[in-house]
Symmetry: C2
Subunit: 396 residues, 2 copies
C-alpha cells in the first residue's frame, strides 16, 4: 500500500540510456507549487556534475522539480558534464513552466562517459507528458532510478500531525559502491508537510546520518550520492515546529532507515543483511567507528556468507578500528549466541550457531566493548561470489 503525498506528480520512461535493458531510465518528480527543498550529498571530493548543480540550489523554498537519469552518472565528464546537467534542468523547466533554478538533477550509472543528450532530451519530453499521481506512475518513477538493483525501493507512511493527515514517500536506488558516508545511491523524499528550508535541511541531515550514513556494501564512496527532499506544504498550513517537527523527524528517519536497509539487502550478490550493534563505547562516535570497521571487513562478510560464526574475525576487526579497545572487556554475541565474554572464548553449539546464520536472511552481531554510554548501529551485507561476478563483469 503506497501513500502518495499531496501536491506531487511523477513519471518515468525508457529513452535508451540503459542499453542492456528496457527498464525506465528517466524519472521526473514535479510539485504543483514551489516547494521547500533540502539536499545531502556525497563527501567524495570527486563529484558528478548534478551534485555540483544541486548543492548550489539547496536548501531553498522555491524548488519544484527533480529530473533523474539512470545508466550514466555524468561524473568525471569535464565542462561538458556541467552543461549537460544544466540542460537537463533547463529542458525540464521549460516543459513544466518553471525557471531553470527550480529544477534539481540526479544521475547514476557509468562514470566518465558523456550523457547521450539526444536520448536524454527525448526521455525528458516523454516523461513530462506522462506526469500522473496514480501508484503506477510512482512505481515506474522508482524504477527509473535503478542501475544494478534487483528491485525498486519505495516506502511511504501517512500519519496525523497537528490536526492534518500528512504523508512522506521515499524512493531510493543503490546496490553496489555503497558508502559509508552515503553510497552510490540516490534518494528522493517527497512530503506534503510545510517546512522552513532550515528545518528541512536539518531534519534531512540528521536522518541521513543514522540511515544512509550508517550502511556499507563495499566501502567505496561514490561520486554521485544524493538525497533530495521536497516539502510541498499541500497537507498542512503552518510551518512545522516544536513537537510536530520532532514527530515529523521521527517518521522521516523511519522512512530513510527503511530505504537504507532496502539498499543493503539488495547489496550486490548479498544473501544476508548484517546488523552490527556496538555498545559500551566511550562515545557514539567511537561505537560507530568500531561498527563501521567490522562492517568493512571482507573476512567478516565472507564468514557470514559461509554461515560461519567466526568471532575471531569480528573481535580482531574491532582491534584496528582506531579507537581504544581492551580485548579483556569485549563481549560478543552473534544471533544471541554468546561467543566471547570479557576476552574469553565461550563454549557454544557451533552447528546451531551456523544454522542460525544459514537459515536467516539477517545476521545480528552485538559487541559490547566496555561500560561507556556510546552506542551505534551499522548495517552491511555479506560478500559472496556473486558480488565479484557482478563487479568484474560490469563494463566501464
Amino acid at each position: 500500500m503506497l501513500f502518495i503525498p499531496r501536491g506531487f506528480r511523477a513519471s518515468a520512461v525508457h529513452c535508451g540510456i540503459k542499453k542492456a535493458s528496457t527498464r525506465e531510465d528517466i524519472a521526473l518528480f514535479v510539485a504543483d507549487e514551489p516547494s521547500v527543498g533540502a539536499g545531502c550529498y556525497t563527501q567524495n571530493l570527486v563529484v558528478a556534475a548534478p551534485v555540483i548543480l544541486d548543492r548550489e540550489r539547496t536548501p531553498a523554498d522555491n524548488l519544484q522539480a527533480i529530473v533523474v537519469n539512470s545508466g550514466n552518472a555524468n561524473a568525471c565528464t569535464g565542462p561538458q558534464g556541467m552543461l549537460d546537467a544544466r540542460q537537463m534542468a533547463k529542458q525540464t523547466a521549460s516543459l513544466c513552466g518553471l525557471s531553470e533554478e527550480q529544477v534539481l538533477v540526479m544521475s547514476t550509472g557509468i562514470i566518465g562517459e558523456p550523457l547521450p543528450m539526444p536520448a536524454v532530451s527525448r526521455g525528458i519530453s516523454a516523461a513530462a507528458a506522462q506526469l500522473a499521481t496514480d501508484e503506477k506512475a510512482w512505481q515506474a518513477a522508482s524504477r527509473g532510478l535503478l542501475t544494478t538493483d534487483t528491485c525498486n525501493k519505495i516506502r511511504s507512511t501517512r500519519f496525523p500531525l497537528g490536526g492534518h493527515e500528512v504523508t512522506i514517500l521515499g524512493i531510493a536506488k543503490g546496490s553496489g559502491m555503497i558508502g559509508p558516508r552515503m553510497a552510490t545511491m540516490l534518494a528522493v523524499i517527497l512530503t506534503d508537510v510545510r517546512l522552513s528550508p532550515t528545518s528541512a535541511q536539518a531534519a534531512l541531515a540528521r536522518g541521513v546520518e543514522q540511515s544512509f550514513n550508517s550502511i556499507s556494501v563495499d566501502g567505496h564512496t561514490s561520486t554521485n550520492d544524493t538525497v533530495l527532499l521536497l516539502a510541498s506544504g499541500a497537507a498542512s498550513t503552518a510551518e512545522l515546529e516544536g513537537s510536530d517537527l520532532a514527530e515529523f523527524e521521527r517518521q522521516l528517519r523511519s522512512i530513510l532507515t527503511q530505504l537504507a536497509l532496502a539498499i543493503v539487502q539488495d547489496g550486490e550478490g548479498a544473501t544476508h543483511l548484517i546488523q552490527i550493534d556496538v555498545s559500551g563505547a566511550a562515545s557514539a562516535n567511537d561505537a560507530k567507528r568500531i561498527a563501521e570497521t567490522i562492517a568493512a571487513s571482507p573476512l567478516v562478510k565472507t564468514a557470514v556468507a559461509g554461515g560461519d560464526p567466526n568471532w575471531g574475525r569480528i573481535v580482531s576487526a574491532a582491534g584496528y578500528a582506531g579507537v581504544p579497545v581492551d580485548v579483556a572487556r569485549l563481549t560478543l554475541r552473534v544471533n544471541d549466541f554468546l561467543l566471547f565474554e570479557n576476552g574469553v572464548p565461550q563454549g557454544f553449539d557451533r552447528q546451531a550457531a551456523s544454522n542460525s546464520i544459514r537459515h536467516n536472511r539477517q545476521t545480528q552481531i552485538a559487541l559490547t566493548v566496555g561500560d561507556g554510554n556510546g552506542q551505534a548501529t551499522f548495517w552491511t551485507c555479506d560478500l559472496t561470489k556473486d558480488y565479484v561476478t557482478i563487479n568484474a563483469d560490469y563494463h566501464t
Copy 2:
C-alpha cells in the same frame, strides 16, 4: 639458489596442529651464538600471546632462537594463551641449551582456540633434533610458517660489505587478512652481519614501512603480524655503521619488498598483482593514503579481475582518501594507457587496454594528483570469486 647466512640452523616438522594437511606446522630457527634481534608487530589492539611475549624481548642483543607454529594463532586465548606461548619458548630453550628469554615465538592460524600443547611439544622436540644448515632444512622451515598460502616464500641475497661477504635470508607467510599496517603475515629475517640492537630495530622498522606496511590483500589487520630479525654477526667483525649500514639497509629493504610482493601475489584467490604509484601529492603520506585507498576498493580490485580498465572507480576512490584532491589535476595511466588527463577522460583503445590487463599477471596503476613531491607505491591483488570461496569456507 638460496644463500644461507652463517651461524644459523633451521628445521621443521609436522606435528598435527594442521589437521587438514601434512605440511610442516612447527619451524625452528636457532643461532649458534647470542644474536642481536629486532621486531615489528601488528598495530591491532587485539594481539596474540606471542606478540605480547616478543614485544617484551625485542630489541635485544642476546637472542638465539625463534620457534614458530602454524595452524593456530594463539590469539584471543586468554591467560592460557600466554602460558602456552611461554611454554613454547621454555621448551625450545631447554632443548637448545638456552635461557627462556633468548627465545622468540610466532604463531599463525585459527584465532580463539587453545594451542594443542601435547602436539606442539612433540613438534618442538622433533624439530630441535633435526636442526641443519642445508637448503632442504631451510625450505622445510619456510613451509612451516604457511597457512592458506599456496607456496612458500623464501628470498636471499649475498653481497660484499666492508671486506666481508654477508648474507640476508628472509622467510615469510601470508595470503589473506593482509594489512595495511602489516598483515596476517609472519616473517623471519636472518643475517650474518653484526648490528647494534638500535640499528637493527631502526633498519627493520624503516624497511617494513615500505614493504609489509605498503601492501594489502583485504584490509583486515591481523592479531599476529610479526617480523623478526636476528643478526648473528658470524660474517663480520665490527658493528655496521655509516655507508656499510646504509648498504645493508638497502639490501634488507630489497628482501623485505620481495617477500611483501610474494605475499600479495599469493593473495587469496589473486590472479593479478596490482602496483599503485601515486605521485605529485603534497607529501609522501598523502600519496600513500591515496594509494592505500585505491588498493582497498573492492570495485577497483574486481575491475582488474575482470580485465576492465575502469578508470572511474580508480579516480573516485582517490576522491575519498581523506586528503585534498582536485579532479581537474588528476592524470591516470593503467599499464601505460592514458585514460584520464587533468580531469578529462581520454579516448583510448578499450580492447587493447583490457587485453593488457588480462594477459599480464601485473597491473600498474599510475596516478598523478598534482605537482607536489609526495610519492608512494602500494601493492595489492585483485578480488576474485576464489577469495570468497576460500574465506567463506575456512572453518572457525
